[in-house]
């Protein structure tokens, strides 16, 4: 290109970090829509504003979810993106792929779409970025052919996700991928056919490091944990001591100050440990979680719309997490039920709990109040006395 049509974007081809502009150009070689997208994006860079119309509601037959409709607001200029819907394709648990599967997805997308993708969307789906209305159904049919189903969107359960867990991590307190598969399969209907007051998300991390950020962005957060004593291999501790300062890096940073180190042995007062993972993270060879493992269930996190962002909070301090996960599935069902019955339009679970009170939620899902559910007790004297006097 002698005189580039995208001088601003071209600048972003430079620099060491992988350039999305390069990928767009790569796709643009084959695909008119990708070419149009490049042009419209350049236009946005010039105008300092996006060029998509509001909303768009399209889909495939039998599903209410999985496709995000999108139309250009300057279709005359960029007819290639007049329609430019994305498809959310449910990823395999843990984002593991055979290249065969990946190539199959690429082939389908070259056939039906822009040739542009996101690996992955923030919720975890494969995002197939941009196709036209008439291609949606055929594309889905072809995806089905190669074994890929759509993910969630709209007022539905969203595509759940899980950390890599036991597939490659020694800290997995339960099988996050297996649980994810069970959850995904159990709630296919709730994912594909929006029926709730709003979106609802489940994310699964197999230990408190929370590598899928479940505590920050899942209405139901599952976080692996353990009971009992951290297993200490004192020989390995001594080995660690050669390369790090156990006192300042580990012991002093323990939030509960339940560790001590005398230069020879490391001691943990496990009763006071809150399982933050800090020490284990720093000494993976020397320390291992206790053998009794399971998960803490927390609920309610979300982004700020409408009442402000929330973190999830503990409702089940410890749940065994073994297949077939009936206890967890039952909890999810009860939670859906309560939220669906009581939630207002566009009210997330956390907001509902804040509006009606944690106590009501606990009662509805059959949990009894425990001190582990709170950081600290209430400071206001405005409490009910429901049991009668």
């Amino acid at each position: 290109m002698a005189n580039s049509e995208t001088p601003l974007l071209d600048d972003l081809e430079k620099g060491p970090w992988p350039s999305f502009v390069k990928d767009m150009k790569q796709a643009a070689v084959k695909k008119e829509s990708a070419r149009a997208l490049l042009g419209q994006l350049e236009q946005s860079f010039v105008d300092n504003i996006g060029h998509w119309k509001h909303g768009g509601i399209v889909g495939v037959k039998g599903y209410g979810a999985g496709v995000i409709g999108r139309y250009s607001d300057i279709p005359d200029k960029f007819p290639g993106v007049e329609h430019f819907h994305t498809m959310r394709v449910n990823m395999p648990a843990g984002w593991f792929y055979t290249t065969k599967a990946l190539r199959a997805v690429c082939d389908v997308w070259d056939k039906h779409g822009s040739g542009l993708t996101n690996f992955h969307g923030a919720t975890g789906d494969i995002i197939l970025l941009g196709t036209s209305t008439d291609h949606l159904q055929p594309c889905f049919d072809d995806l089905a052919e190669i074994g890929f189903d759509l993910g969630g969107s709209g007022s539905a359960m969203r595509t759940p996700s899980a950390c890599v867990g036991p597939a490659r991590c020694e800290w997995a307190c339960f099988d996050s991928l297996n649980l994810l598969r069970t959850v995904t399969r159990t709630f296919q209907g709730q994912m594909h056919r929006p029926m709730f007051p709003y979106k609802i998300k489940i994310k699964i991390s197999a230990c408190p490091n929370d590598c899928v950020a479940s505590i920050a962005r899942a209405d139901i957060s599952v976080i692996g944990t353990w009971r009992g004593n951290i297993q200490i291999d004192q020989t390995e501790v001594l080995a660690c001591a050669k390369t790090m300062n156990i006192q300042t890096e580990v012991v002093d940073l323990c939030p509960t100050k339940c560790m001590s180190w005398d230069g020879k042995a490391l001691t943990i007062d496990d009763k006071e440990c809150n399982r933050c993972m800090h020490c284990i993270n720093l000494m993976p060879k020397a320390l291992r979680q206790a053998k009794e493992r399971g998960a803490t269930i927390l609920v309610g996190s979300k982004a700020p719309i409408v009442h402000g962002a929330l973190l999830s909070s503990v409702v089940i301090p410890f749940m065994k997490m073994d297949p077939p996960y009936d206890e967890f599935i039952e909890f999810v069902n009860k939670t859906f039920e309560y939220w669906d019955e009581n939630g207002k339009m566009r009210e997330r679970l956390g907001e509902l709990i804040n509006r009606l009170g944690m106590g009501k939620f606990l009662k509805a899902v059959g949990l009894k109040p425990l001190p582990q559910m709170i950081k600290r007790p209430r400071a206001n004297p405005y409490y009910f006395w429901r049991e009668g006097i």
Binding site: D11, D23, C106, A167, C169, R181
Partner: protein, 353 residues
């Protein structure tokens, strides 16, 4: 044809490399060999090497095929992506590690993102695909990562530093809990198109969508009235109603938030907090935003103790001191006035000058 539905995603078990299948759930420990290279050792003694490669996330199918090429050459045809959208090549034979690295270097694909590095910036659609952005996503991310590139492939930082970007207040992703969050914000009230509001919008839902109660019905016009003094441009009404766009070339821009985290380590999960209410949209490289992020990273790197994350450091020294050290002017917007504001006020006479 009766379309097949509800069959779900491919079973992950079909996607796992043999070494993982064999040692599934039986990993013993891991080592961080060098930036971007992890070694996981199983109870069986098997060793799995993971090479993490930075990704722009927005990939062409050809690029994906290229990833497949590499995976087929070195990893038996298996590859994975991370929760922060990096690519992970899983190598079961040690001898393949160096050749793979060499191959990746040749391609110019960055290796890193593990341990105390700056890993990929989780981000969103921006002008690429969304209808409510106040700024772009991919463009800023590219500009910032170019500038912070050295931190991706090295371990020069005191601790984890997770950067995220969302292009509007909907905050897709977890910017609300990131060490540094780049967040698109609007600064203009919705421009009302009453005709559209009348015909296309569910007025009660539009009213309920406003966090500050700025919208009230205008039954005479079958439309709504916005109390401009109460509107803080969240754009939530626009989400509900095409007749109320908030995007504006001058009004839109970027805000910077710091100190959030997700992991339960030490201090536990925390929200990111506003430190710079507005920086302009200056494509293609958003120099003000890039400079602000870099400054914060480096101020933290210089002052924090080992393993201390952004928020932990700031909470230790106090926010008043952070503004001073970082050379960031204090702005009125930083003082909260939403529903939990009183929790953020300084309810003690103990503070630093």
């Amino acid at each position: 044809m009766a379309t097949r539905t509800d069959f779900g995603p491919p079973d992950y078990e079909t996607m796992l490399p043999p070494i993982i299948k064999k040692n599934y759930g039986m990993w013993k420990y891991h080592e961080r060999v060098k930036p971007g290279l992890l070694k996981h050792v199983a109870e069986s003694g098997d060793e799995l090497y993971t090479i993490r490669v930075g990704s722009a996330r927005l990939l062409s199918t050809d690029h994906v095929r290229e990833i497949c090429d590499v995976a087929e050459k070195f990893c038996g045809g298996y590859v994975r992506f991370t929760s922060r959208h990096n690519i992970e090549f899983l190598v079961s034979e040690k001898k393949n590690v160096d050749p793979l690295i060499a191959d990746l270097n040749k391609r110019g694909w960055p290796i890193g993102g593990t341990g105390h590095s700056i890993t990929n910036i989780v981000h969103t659609q921006g002008w690429i695909h969304c209808h409510t952005p106040a700024t772009d996503a991919s463009g800023i991310v590219k500009a910032v990562m170019d500038e912070l590139y050295d931190y991706f492939g090295s371990w020069k930082l005191p601790g984890y530093c997770r950067i995220s970007l969302a292009c509007c207040l909907n905050m897709c992703g977890a910017v609300h809990c990131s060490d540094i969050a780049i967040l698109g914000i609007h600064r203009t009230v919705p421009k009302l198109n009453h005709e559209i509001i009348r015909t296309k919008c569910e007025i009660p839902n539009v009213i309920a969508a406003c966090p500050t109660g700025a919208i009230r019905p205008d039954p005479a016009n079958k439309s709504v009235i916005v109390n401009e003094d109460r509107c803080m441009y969240c754009g939530n009404c626009y989400t509900m109603c095409p007749g109320m766009p908030v995007a504006d070339p001058v009004g839109g821009g970027v805000s910077i938030w710091v100190g959030g985290k997700v992991s339960n380590t030490r201090s536990g999960p925390a929200f990111s907090r506003l430190v710079i209410p507005f920086l302009p949209n200056t494509p293609p490289r958003w120099p003000e935003t890039v400079a602000a992020v870099k400054n914060i990273v480096e101020v933290w790197a210089k002052h924090a103790r080992k393993h201390e994350r952004m928020g932990e450091w700031i909470e230790r020294i106090g926010w008043e001191r952070f503004f001073e050290i970082a050379g960031i002017p204090f702005a009125e917007q930083i003082i909260d006035d939403f529903t939990l504001a009183s929790e953020t006020y300084r309810t003690t006479a103990a503070f630093k000058w």
